[in-house]
């Protein structure tokens, strides 16, 4: 099991992302982000519990395609990117208690005249290849009967460019990603995020399946971080203050859904959540 493996090898491998909202690189093999900080605290707790002050931390960058196989095949012990907890994935891996609840939303140009989902009829909608956001939109009942064209960007920056360059009229994606892209853009005031929330998704740290001891340690560490206010401070640091490397402020207040998840720590999959309208 994982704890024994960590003890034996004297090292733990953390899965990180090159550029996602919760974990990203600063270049030169350094990583940072909201989830990165949460995991750093977890690793401190592992050190304490295993009495390994010199525990070595290895970083393995992962992509949305390989993160699950890498956790399964033992390369990554603790995946601290931004992975949605779903029923399908729970067949392959385990998730720690939810640290962040994502809301899928719609970004449009401020002067586009689009004010709600019903205005999307006949429009072109961008989303990123390898995400499920558009699927959500397709199934959303307020958008039912609304026909729109889908266009895929190869990554979030690319999808945003589709909107910016006029190839798409809207960009459907996780709210934090939309906010970050707007914040970094040349003209943040030119965009607006629609009020409707298409779906909510619990994002959690991913672990190997069937390892209750390790999961308990991670869960306890997160619960402790919630109760002592560490998580709230990290929120402030990453979503309300200027962040490296460019020093922009994302400006995303703590959502009610995330607050609810913190109030009652759980590892329920996305399917157990429903959209509050």
């Amino acid at each position: 099991d994982t704890l024994a493996k960590i003890k034996a090898s004297g090292s733990v491998t953390e899965g990180v992302r090159e550029s996602s909202g919760l974990s990203y690189t600063l270049g030169n093999g350094q990583y940072t982000g909201f989830h990165y900080d949460v995991c750093a605290n977890i690793i401190e707790d592992i050190k304490k519990q295993l009495n390994l002050p010199n525990l070595q931390v290895k970083y393995q960058p992962v992509t949305s395609q390989n993160r699950i196989p890498l956790v399964k095949n033992g390369t990554v012990d603790l995946e601290c990117g931004s992975t949605t907890n779903t029923e399908a994935r729970q067949r392959d891996v385990a998730f720690a208690v939810t640290t962040y609840v994502e809301e899928v939303r719609v970004l449009v140009k401020a002067n586009s005249g689009i004010n709600g989902l019903e205005d999307l009829a006949g429009k072109t909608i961008a989303t990123t290849t390898g995400t499920t956001s558009v699927q959500t939109l397709r199934k959303h009942k307020r958008a039912e009967g609304v026909n729109f064209k889908e266009i895929f960007g190869k990554d979030h920056a690319d999808s945003f460019l589709l909107l910016e360059g006029g190839r798409a009229d809207a960009f459907v994606m996780d709210g934090s990603i939309l906010a970050a892209n707007v914040a970094k853009s040349k003209e943040p005031a030119a965009y607006k995020i629609l009020d409707e929330v298409l779906s909510v998704e619990p994002i959690a740290i991913m672990l190997r399946k069937d390892d209750p001891a390790f999961k308990k340690l991670v869960d306890d560490s997160i619960k402790e971080q919630i109760s002592n206010g560490t998580l709230a401070k990290l929120w402030d640091k990453w979503f309300l203050q200027p962040i490296p490397p460019a020093g922009v402020t994302i400006g995303l207040p703590l959502s009610a859904a995330t607050q609810a998840a913190w109030d009652d720590p759980n590892d329920k999959p996305m399917e157990a959540y429903s959209v509050q309208e």
């Binding site: 270049g27 093999g29 992509t63 990554d155």
Partner: protein, 222 residues
């Protein structure tokens, strides 16, 4: 019109994001070229031998490898080998191994053509002087074949240098990825890609000029 903003490029940023990737691309290209040539030469010799138990494995390997997209080879190796050997392997090592294995298939075809372009008389001349097969290959055939094939090998190396970007699939970090990541973090993807295109062009073009000159220098006087 485009309104471009390159202000985010400064030395600290380049050294943080691009240089490491550049270094990785360079080293990977170098190792994969050398390894690919060595393994490819072996494969070429196997295919040219007249023994079926050597010809067939080489044939299957070369044609199989050339049919699979490189990115899939990389991914499969990275994901499946740990399951087989029961122990994770690093992205860098995976990249090096898969690139050598993949490039060997391409280089073997180039080298085979090179060896076949050497007149049979040259082989006979070496044999007639009492050289063994190995001596003949090493001293007579391969030196000429490599000289003749240098331009084609160069083209393959340029392709290889560009293909190093496929290591994104296993989370390794090459030059293109460096530009891309920087572009994303600063919200300036167009500028990042434009600069990347220029840098790639300059590197690849200089490389091809350099090898062309080298080729003229070591070309066999006929």
């Amino acid at each position: 019109m485009l309104d471009l903003d390159f202000s985010f490029y400064n030395w600290a940023m380049i050294s943080d994001f691009v240089l490491k990737g550049f270094y990785f691309s360079l080293v990977l290209t170098l190792i994969a070229t050398l390894g690919g040539i060595v393994l490819g030469t072996l494969l070429a010799l196997m295919r040219l031998s007249e023994k079926p138990f050597l010809v067939w494995p080489a044939l299957v390997y070369v044609n199989g490898m050339r049919s699979i997209p490189l990115v899939m080879v990389i991914l499969w190796f990275f994901l499946l080998v740990p399951l087989i050997i029961g122990q994770p392997i690093g992205a860098e090592i995976s990249a090096v191994v898969t690139f050598i294995a993949f490039e060997a298939a391409y280089f073997s075809e180039i080298i085979r053509a090179g060896i076949q372009s050497i007149p049979r008389g040259q082989v006979m001349a070496g044999e007639a002087l009492g050289m063994t097969y190995a001596q003949n290959m090493r001293l007579v055939v391969l030196p000429q074949a490599f000289r003749n094939m240098l331009p084609v090998m160069l083209t393959q190396t340029i392709i290889l240098f560009q293909d190093t970007s496929l290591v994104y699939a296993i989370g390794a970090y090459d030059m293109l990825k460096g530009f891309e990541t920087a572009g994303k973090l600063f919200g300036r993807p167009v500028e990042a890609y434009l600069l990347a295109a220029v840098v790639y062009f300059v590197i690849c073009y200089s490389l091809s000029r350099l090898v062309r000159r080298l080729h003229q220098k070591i070309a066999i006087i006929r």
